[in-house]
Every structure is written in C-alpha cells, then in structure tokens.
Symmetry: C2
C-alpha cells in the first residue's frame, strides 16, 4: 500500500487556514487531521481525542525524553506538542496527514521530517487581516493587536516553506492547496517508490 | 509583470502526451506551445510557423554556433531544434511555455534551464501502449515495433524528470498536469520573487 504524505500548514490567525484545511479534509480520499497533545486542563466542551489529546505532565515528559514528539513547546506552564506515533500510524495506513501548526513548531517538524511538504498561507495584506479579525467580533482590541503582531512575526518565516498561498479569494486558495497535494503525489521520487513497491 | 514558467513535457508516442498538451493550452490563461525549427523540407500541408519553423541549414548552424538553441539534434541529415529567442520572448511576456520534446532534447534543456519544470508521461503499461498504437491504425507493423522499442528507452530516462504522470485515465492525467502547473506557481521562490517585484 502507498504511504501517505505529511503536510504542514501554517498561517496567521485570520489567514483562512482553517477554512482551507476543512476543504482538504472533505475533498481528499484518505486524510487525517493531526490533533495536538497538551497538559493543560480541558476547557468546558473540549473533548479528549477531538480537540486535544489531554495528557498528564509526566506522560508528556516521557514522550519528550524518548524523542517521540514531532514538535513541542511550553506555554504558560503547560506543554503542547505533536506525538509522532499517531501521525506515523496514519501515514503507514496510506492517509495523508495534515498538521496545522505555528511557525516554530513547523520548524521543528521540518527538520525532523525533511520529506514533509510545507505550505504557508498569507493573508492578502495586513490591512485585510486586521479587517477579518475585527469582523469576527470574537476578540478584544488587545487580542486583535496581539494577533496582528504575531502575524507579522509568522509571515517573516514564510521563506522556509515549500509553498506560499496568498489567500485573496478562499476558493482559489483552496484549489491551490489541493493542486499542491495532487502535484506532490506526482513527484518522481514518490512515483518511482510506488512503482517499485508494486513490482 | 510576472514571468511565465517553462514546462518540458516528454512521453513516448501513445502515452497520451498530445491530448494532455491540448488540454493545457485550452485551460491555461496564458500559454504558448513552442514550435521546433528544422532544416528539412516542408511536407505537403505543413505550414511554416505552425508545424515547424522551416530554416536553411546555414541559418540553423549560425544558431548552433551562437548557442541560441535550447536543444538540437541531427536526424537523417536534417537538423531539428528549439531556438531560445521565441521561448524567452514569451516567458518575458508572462506566458507559460510548453515544450513537447523527447528525452535527449529534454536533457539538454534541463541542463541549460534548471528552473524549467519537467513532466514525463508514462503509459499505464507497455501492453496498453502497444494496444493504443495498434488501435490508431496509422502505423505499419515495423513502425509500431520501432515505437515500442523507443518507448522502452525513453521510459528509462523518466528519473531525470521532476514529475511522473501515469496516464491510465486521460482525465486524471490532464488534471494532474494542471495541478502541477498550479502548484509550481505557488512555490515559495516564485511567490517571493513576485511579491518583491510588486513592492
């Protein structure tokens, strides 16, 4: 059976990344959206294995020690990370695995998995990004300013990604990410690998 | 203005390459199909600038000396090749340029233009290829045997291409090549180049 491919998708809050990922999961035959692990307490309504894999601190630290995380970080006293095992299990079962991750996590993953395909989703401009964040109406003024500052930092890291999507029209952006996934499966190294396995 | 991209497409006779190229030219916004130059005499019905650029031998040899051909070969006493000037003119005008070329010509082009994107179209199997060549009903038995032998030689060169398409269903093959072209325009190097030019 053909192994799946690992796709790392980053982009600031308001870039349309979540909408793009939703479309991918709907359209791809065999795709799996990787769920992060965390040591923080579940918030109301959050379900284990759906929103996060909730873990005890000791459990998480064992994964760190055994180098069984594709990436991890500490944030306000809690760990957040991507355990390698469920990702590899799905890849081996032929699923494409989609990772939604900020740039620092992406950097860690790409150094561990150089065969991963990375896509950075840009907002068309910072003015549009600000507009989108305000139109959501969910964030306080402070949070919007924080998100915009964070977006500027993240966008500077875009150079390390294989592909850049400029999400001006969401339909075009979704089609471009689908095209990237289709094209990556046609890469000669992939094809020759599969052709050899079939014989 | 954004420069176009150079796409080198190879594949044995019967691989469905021509159908794929037809679809590309129809679907792409700005695409130009590169026409070869030759020193052989035009056959009945062949038009200069449509089927080939017909040239005198001396004219062609001047291009060779001035290194103004992306590739060339001699075949039964005649020259065949791809002059660089019309290709570059179209690329600079923002057109994607599609080159339909056999593997030896492709090798020359890819060494001169490492930024070209190369696609090799495989028949699903040699049995299907033979069937397709026979069903055309245009070639003699000798010619079919020759084409099959040639196909085996060309398919061995597929490793040097960026992408491999296995043309099992022509619709899928066309979609895959379109996806490759879309994806290549999203490559980070391309995007950053264009973003810089816009500022």
């Amino acid at each position: 059976m053909n192994k799946g491919k690992l796709f790392v998708i980053s982009g600031p809050s308001g870039s349309g990344k979540s909408t793009v990922i939703c479309r991918l999961l709907k359209e791809l035959d065999k795709a799996y959206f990787s769920i992060s692990a965390t040591t923080r307490e579940p918030r109301e309504g959050e379900r284990d294995g759906v929103d996060y894999h909730f873990m005890k601190k000791e459990e998480f630290e064992k994964l760190v020690e055994a180098d069984q995380l594709l990436e991890y970080a500490q944030f306000v006293g809690n760990y957040y990370g991507t355990p390698a095992a469920p990702v590899d299990e799905k890849l081996n079962a032929g699923y494409d695995v989609i990772l939604d991750i900020e740039t620092q996590g992406a950097e860690q993953i790409l150094s561990k998995r150089p065969d991963a395909v990375s896509v950075f989703i840009f907002p068309p401009s910072f003015a549009v990004l600000e507009q989108r964040l305000r139109m959501r109406g969910t964030d306080s003024e402070d949070k919007i300013i924080g998100r915009l500052a964070q977006a500027r930092v993240e966008c500077k890291k875009a150079e390390m990604y294989n592909y850049i999507i400029i999400n001006d029209r969401i339909e075009t952006a979704c089609n471009e990410v689908m095209a990237i996934i289709t094209a990556e499966k046609c890469r000669t190294a992939e094809r020759l690998h599969h052709l050899k396995e079939e014989n």
